[in-house]
Symmetry: C2
Subunit: 364 residues, 2 copies
Amino acid sequence: MRAVADVSPLAPGSTIGILGGGQLGRMLSQAASRLGFDVVILDPEENSPAGRVSRGQIVAAYDDPTALTVFGRVCDVVTFEFENVPASSVERLAEAGALVAPGPTALAVAQDRVDEKTFLNAVGAPTVGFVAVDGLNDLTAGLEALGLPALLKTRRDGYDGKGQVWIKSAKQAGAALASLGGRPAILEAKAPFIRELSIIAARGRDGSVAVYPLGENRHAGGVLRTTQAPAVIDAKTERRAKAIAAAVLDGLAYVGVIGIELFDLGDGRLLVNEIAPRVHNTGHWTQDGCVCDQFEQHIRAIAGWPLGPTAAHARVEMTNLLGDEVEQWSRVSARPDQRLHLYGKTDARPGRKMGHVNRVRPLG
Amino acid sequence: MRAVADVSPLAPGSTIGILGGGQLGRMLSQAASRLGFDVVILDPEENSPAGRVSRGQIVAAYDDPTALTVFGRVCDVVTFEFENVPASSVERLAEAGALVAPGPTALAVAQDRVDEKTFLNAVGAPTVGFVAVDGLNDLTAGLEALGLPALLKTRRDGYDGKGQVWIKSAKQAGAALASLGGRPAILEAKAPFIRELSIIAARGRDGSVAVYPLGENRHAGGVLRTTQAPAVIDAKTERRAKAIAAAVLDGLAYVGVIGIELFDLGDGRLLVNEIAPRVHNTGHWTQDGCVCDQFEQHIRAIAGWPLGPTAAHARVEMTNLLGDEVEQWSRVSARPDQRLHLYGKTDARPGRKMGHVNRVRPLG
């Protein structure tokens, strides 16, 4: 496996592979095309949103060894739109000759909530208290140590609020554990936060770090609804957030864009909720608020190019269009201050991310 | 053939066809994808720049009747990246059920320089003096009427300075005519211009017109090198330019983006040099200077959507990267004020348009 830092910047005309053909893959592909790269997608769904705007798509499972070998040979660099990539898939891509970014360490850390929080604390990024839970004894001890209420989550998988349950009294412990189907779990203390912030940051192959202004997020039903950016925040807290981002990126020897969700405790303290080793829904505002958005930034990083500028030139409120909210396209298209981004998905299932709108206002 | 004005706005998920798979088709395709449309390209060159970022490509000649019928059936709306589309092709697309925008009138007018200038003068848009030239007699009479030097061009085809010759003395008339191979020609008076300006404007299906700030262009060897926008221009001349654009668009009952090249005579007078019924190289600055660039604007217009805003939020100098100038990508990528746009062309033949750079500065 070649070391990512050792190779020259990838020339236009090279091929970038993206594992995952959803909206993040689609917007990454569009950014890569604008810089003159060819893009190939690997996704089990034919005509995926990303595949439809790319040079080609290999239709196969993410752990299909033959498909991964072909994919790794065709692509100069391979990246991901989601973090739950099997470690064996990454190995096979590297064996086939592709650079892989971000690398296996970042993926492994992000795939396991206990490993993730352990890593974060080790690099000085504070989190809520937590304990690993392998059975009822762990859980009972954890509830005593962390207090009530506490949040029980599967260690692996789960997103948008799935695979997690609040425990409000010790009596609920058994049922909560059973609801996770016996999978390894983590118990997290409740964070007394006043709001959720997020940082989108990037690290280049040369170790340089670029951090965007923070966003403030609002969720409903476990799913992101809006991000407002740049978030209103005092300079000291913002510096602390950026220092956390740099510590995380350097700690992982990371290459690419990362999304870091933070709890703002309102007293100057910030806790890291979770990290996503990829472009992130809370960074979509950069498309209309920054010269170089998170998608181009990620492509620049994994291609070994210099990172782009991250200053905001506008204030943006990003709103996800979920399910049949996508029907708002007609109204939104008539608003000169609203920028529409649609993902080319045909089936508007309830809650499915179909697109987003960036409402743009002048800075200041 | 359905009348373009009669149909509802095209919903996301519809298919837009683009005749021509070069860089203009590529950037149109990217804009359409962002609005949730599928795009299919028709181009004789396999893996064309536009085809590589689109849902699909039909590889066939632009006048292949079977291919056009299939293309017209697959696409809800068909548009063009170049003006020299055979009229018979447009007819066949319409017969196959596709809306075609811009329509046959605009294409016909733009394909013949005599018809173009006749139309322009009829709608009150001034041009240089001109005469149609079908033989030496016409040419001799034309040179007497228009004076020397004068510019002899083929009536049809020719771009980037090809198919035209300056006549500096009456003695050169025969040789000049012969150099055009006996094709029907136009003789144009020399315009005493101090600079070339261009307008990018759009007209929606509902007849609304949107005009971008003017650009100032610099050519070398008949090929565009740079556009600076917004051009420095007095308010009265700018109003005149915008009135010309509206007259041209309304006169053609146009739907889509048009590029209009103007000679600025320096005394308040503007002459129209030529019109291009499509997105235009001198409008590439809008990608980094406007919220809604000319590519999205064209897609909005042909899809029957409301036109987007056209105000500039930055000052931009667009420079074409010709031939091996594309090797500058590495240097440009390190400049935070320079935005790189590459077309995915592999063969950097001398003079070939490989990409462009937008250098962005604050307004004012």
